[in-house]
Amino acid sequence: MSTPRTTPAPHPRGRRRPRGATRVPAALLLPALLGLAFLVLPLLGLLIRAPWSALPALLTGPEVWQALRLSLISATAATGVSLLLGVPLAWLLARTDFPGRRLLRALVTLPLVLPPVVGGVALLLVLGRAGIVGRWLDAATGITLPFTTAGVVVAETFVAMPFLVISVEGALRAADPRYEEAAATLGASRLTAFRRVTLPLVAPGIGAGAVLAWARALGEFGATITFAGNFPGRTQTMPLAVYLAMESDPQAAIALSLILLAVSIAVLAGLRDRWMSTP
């Protein structure tokens, strides 16, 4: 909003002070700047100490490429699974009313705050070879999830899907349910109305949720290493590779970190309209 020049500001002091400038007490400014430095300096450090000249060689090394490829594939697969299961789940939470819905919603969002390692342990207990479901799965189909690439996807989905569900549920709640009624009066079944009216209306929310879920899956460490282990080429994703490289080859660790940083910045840029347009 701009202040029209011809009309005097209603408050006499407002005229002398440039618009937007507020006097900041030092007691707030100092910790604020410290906080800023604390958040930004490590990222700068990463950029300053990056072995820029050796970077091409490092990044094209087979281990890095392997980890990057696995990370991209498993994060994308986890996002796909999250979309497939999470969008209908979000619809159920937003559009239906049943006893215990609030409790269910709380359970769905629990992995958002649960330490990922705990998630990994829980997954092992359920889907492990001797787990409640895993035993049955092994006996019936011969499939075992732990310590496989599929296990990586499972761990990442567990951690990432709540982000998608929350984002889509919010979009669904904001979308006018009467559009679905209008669709019904035109002969659309509830499924058709969902597919052809509701989904397009909440597409931006689904997109944002998917990007968030993908970014979360890409950075997943705790649940993955617990449930899927750390086997190069099979379950060793980028974050795991970074952690391991820090002990043997710090230069490679920095190079890998740079890639993850670049991805994070890209995600932020992609979501800037949604998340950074707050006044």
């Binding site: 009624e181 019904a184 009066t185």
Partner: protein
């Protein structure tokens, strides 16, 4: 055969709707009533968006809702078209795809649905806007797209919820005339919900006036306008209305006042007269008018080029004056005046 035969009973806590509705082919019925009267509930029940708690809805002899038989056909299985108050055009679809939506739901492929939808837009004079998204349409255009979308599925029952309420006054006039033309061409039954008496009178063949969930009057618009039976309708059509007991050419009101009329009646009766039949005088006039009442001015309001004077007294009434007459009388709230009404200008009819 009656095309639409409905007993709409819906209970919602303290509010109950109990409205009988029937219509012949080609008839346009308006549900007219104040806000909260239950008009929208009735429309939602007809549309299948809200199940009845009791009663029934039959269309061309086919039951759509009958709680006693455990039968309820939801909206998507009814041969209906609905024009919603704020149109609810799908914002992500072009005008053409909005109109084609219902046809696609009937199983038509995209190209076929569009080919069938386009003539509907042409009929509405919107062919050149076919590719536009609803956000790029004006209010009047959006209304016509909504009508085309509802008509394109060839409904046997067309439902319109306050179809003109979202339009500004100027657009409203054009769209109302156009809507009237389209409704006249529509062969099946149309039910219109509105709180605007003008919309109802212009668009409908028959009015069903609803107050507090009950039908208070039905009839042809001219009949309802001439012989209102409740204060709500009298106010809508701008008449002074009193209910009393007639004995010859006199109607005695519950509070004891007597109104002289021109019609010979006995028993419970209404008396109505327009505000411009009332003349006001500062002093008790020597007049042939047989209805003469002392009043106090309660309020003044400019209505078009007329002053509407609200009068309190033994007989509360509204009078219309020219601005000159109002100035000559020097009326302000609290002014004591005499109101005169000629018996020949009143209209009495049985209650």
């Amino acid at each position: 055969m009656t095309t639409l035969d409905a007993e709409l009973r819906v209970g919602r806590g303290a509010f109950t709707l109990d409205v009988a509705l029937s219509a012949q082919p080609g008839e346009v019925v308006a549900l007219l009533g104040p806000n909260g009267a239950g008009k929208s509930t009735a429309l939602r029940a007809l549309a299948g968006l809200l199940p009845l708690t009791d009663g029934h809805i039959a269309l061309y002899g086919e039951q759509l809702d009958s709680p006693a038989d455990g039968l309820f056909r939801p909206a998507e299985q009814r041969p209906i078209g609905v024009v919603f108050q704020d149109y609810l055009l799908f914002p992500h679809l072009s005008a053409l795809d909005n109109v084609a939506f219902g046809l696609r739901c009937k199983g038509l492929r995209r190209a076929a649905a569009r080919a069938e939808a386009l003539p509907w837009l042409e009929r509405m004079g919107l062919a050149e806007h076919a590719g536009r998204r609803p956000a790029k349409l004006s209010g009047g255009q959006a209304q016509r797209v909504a009508l085309a979308r509802a008509l394109a599925v060839r409904p046997r029952l067309l439902l319109l919820d306050e179809p003109l309420a979202a339009l500004d006054a100027r657009t409203r006039l054009d769209v109302r005339a156009e809507l009237r033309r389209h409704l006249a061409e529509f062969e099946a039954v149309a039910v219109l919900v509105t709180h605007d008496p003008l919309d109802a009178m212009v668009l409908a063949d028959r009015l069903v006036v609803i107050e507090a969930g009950r039908v208070v009057q039905t009839g042809r618009p001219a009949e309802v306008a001439r012989r209102p039976r409740t204060d709500y309708i009298a106010r809508l059509v701008g008449l002074n209305l009193y209910q009393g007991v007639a004995d010859g050419r006199r109607v005695t009101l519950p509070e004891g006042q007597v109104l002289a009329t021109d019609e010979e009646l006995t028993g419970p009766a209404f008396v109505a007269f327009p505000p411009d039949a009332v003349t006001l005088h500062r002093h008790r006039p020597e007049t042939s008018a047989r209805n003469l009442f002392p009043c106090t001015v309660a309020g003044l309001d400019l209505h078009g080029d007329r002053f509407r004077v609200d009068l309190a007294g033994p007989l509360p009434l509204a009078a219309d004056l020219t601005p000159t007459a109002a100035a000559d009388l020097d009326l302000t709230p609290g002014t004591r005046v005499w109101a005169a009404v000629k018996a020949t200008q009143t209209h009495a009819y049985p209650a």
